[in-house]
């Protein structure tokens, strides 16, 4: 479980996050949603310690990580996996080298054990047999799945995904969502996804935090979206006339 308490973040005079309080629950896919510029990526980077908040606390179980020194932060990060919006795969390494990089750096496993774990992770994301390809030789959707494979290679307790569906077609996006959701359930980990993909919200939104102008405008789950009367979430999810018609039909 991760708890954000009274998070504020400013860049110069510009206040990006204001008094964010939210609990990201274990074993669930926790979604941070909101329009572009709402502060989603900043909040995600604060959670993983890439950005320091102006004030506030981030608790991983019983520890406030904002008070961690660099060494403590590095130890915590052994338990964190992250999928970046642009994948951040090392383009001069093969897929296998990308996935085994955290193992090479932090474990004393034998080559055979590492190879086995790479194969297992690739199988988990349905990409067996592409070990020797380079990131530039596979599609965007496959790169996302390789990013997931690399994120889970050390069996993390926390998985963070920044816009996992950006730039993907709807069908591939659903595959990625199902994959992340499945890994979260099977491994009983805390997953935090930053997205503005409405399909993701309605399919895998176990616990949702809607950010609007740097503040938590709504929180709940996918089942509450249709029936709750909050105007901000309604305007955000059912933004187009087409979706508004669908919502009316569903409710009637």
């Amino acid at each position: 479980m991760i708890v954000a308490k009274n998070i504020y973040k400013s860049f110069g005079d510009h206040e990006v996050l204001k008094d964010i309080n939210f609990t990201f629950e274990k074993g669930k896919t926790n979604l941070i949603i909101g329009a572009s510029g709402a502060g989603k990526t900043v909040l995600l980077k604060i959670l993983v310690g890439l950005i320091t908040p102006t004030s506030g606390e981030v608790w991983f179980n019983a520890q406030d990580v904002c008070k961690f020194n660099r060494e403590q932060l590095r130890e915590l990060r052994m338990d964190i996996g992250m999928l970046f919006q642009a994948n951040a795969l090392f383009d001069s390494m093969t897929i296998e080298e990308n996935i085994r990089f955290p193992m090479d750096m932090f474990t004393n496993r034998t080559n055979q054990e590492k190879r086995h774990q790479v194969d297992y992770c690739l199988e988990r994301v349905n990409l067996s047999g592409i070990n020797d390809k380079y990131p530039s030789e596979i599609s965007g959707g496959m790169q996302k799945r390789v990013g997931i494979a690399r994120a889970i290679v050390l069996n993390p307790k926390y998985l963070f995904c920044d816009e996992p569906n950006s730039g993907l077609d709807p069908k591939t996006a659903i595959t990625i969502d199902e994959l992340i959701s499945g890994i979260t359930r099977d491994n009983d980990i805390t997953t935090v996804i930053n997205t503005h993909d409405m399909n993701s919200v309605m399919e895998i939104g176990d616990n949702i935090c809607l950010l609007s102008q740097g503040e938590v405008a709504w929180e709940g789950n996918k089942n509450e979206i249709l029936v709750n009367g909050n105007q901000v979430i309604s305007d955000f999810i059912f933004a187009s006339p087409f979706l508004q018609r669908l919502k009316s039909q569903a409710l009637s």
Partner: protein, 246 residues
């Protein structure tokens, strides 16, 4: 003012660079890779330039000696000492600041922009150490070797030019090479080589690691790595000359 700010930031960054590696094998492999890239990748340009410099020095000095009372074997003496004291280390490292420095700044800066550095940080890697320390070690080991090659090729270039153009006999040039040889000068050459290697690598890594913005800023960082690296090498050259020869 900006220089002092950057210098302070770099000094504060140094403990991170030289902190204990997470995995010695990975750092060792990266150091070897960098040594190969810097050493093999730069050997031809260093040899080409030092060969020409040695030849030009011999030709120009023989031109100046015409009609004078100075014996012609001094050409070998001058070529040897000018290569040892100045040209082999300083000129090679200025060339390397352009070739290696810009590559390093672009490599690290590109990793910053493509979130590779963030990805490594999230994994728990000390990116300052992993990305910079192997480059510094590789440079400090391999650049003195390149400077040694530059010295040998420079003297060889001078020899060929002295024989073919200036009309010296073999024995004259060889006598000049042995004339008033001072081993201390070789020590100065290696002090320069190690110092310049550290400077050009540190400046390039600093410019790449802290780059912000897009491709234009990455290009500017790469240019700064070359310009500042070259200027700092010349400043260090002066300081070393004052300390060791003043």
């Amino acid at each position: 003012m900006q220089f002092l700010k950057d210098f302070g930031k770099f000094m504060a960054w140094l403990p991170d660079i030289f902190s204990k590696p997470e995995n010695w094998t990975m750092y060792y492999k990266e150091t070897i890779r960098q040594m190969y890239d810097i050493g093999i990748g730069s050997m031809s340009i260093v040899m080409l330039i030092s060969g020409f410099i040695g030849a030009v020095t011999a030709i120009q000095f023989s031109y100046q000696l015409k009609g004078s009372m100075i014996p012609s074997y001094y050409i070998g003496y001058i070529v040897r000492d000018i290569m040892i004291i100045e040209m082999a280390a300083t000129l090679s490292c200025i060339v390397l600041a352009g070739k290696v420095g810009s590559t390093m700044a672009a490599e690290i800066g590109g990793m910053r922009q493509k979130e590779h550095i963030d990805a490594m940080e999230i994994m728990g890697v000390n990116t300052s150490a992993y990305l910079v320390m192997p480059k510094l070690l590789a440079s400090i080991i391999i650049i003195p070797l390149l400077v040694t090659i530059a010295l040998i090729v420079g003297v060889a270039g001078g020899y060929v030019a002295a024989i073919l153009v200036a009309g010296l006999a073999n024995w004259e040039f060889e006598r000049g090479l042995r004339f008033l040889f001072e081993p201390y000068n070789v020590f100065i050459m290696y002090v320069k080589a190690v110092s310049f290697a550290f400077i050009l690598t540190a400046v390039a890594c600093y410019q790449g690691y802290f780059v912000k913005g897009g491709s234009i800023e990455l290009g500017q960082a790469s240019t700064r790595a070359v310009v500042f690296g070259s200027i700092l090498i010349l400043v260090a050259d002066l300081i070393i000359a004052l300390i060791l020869m003043g």
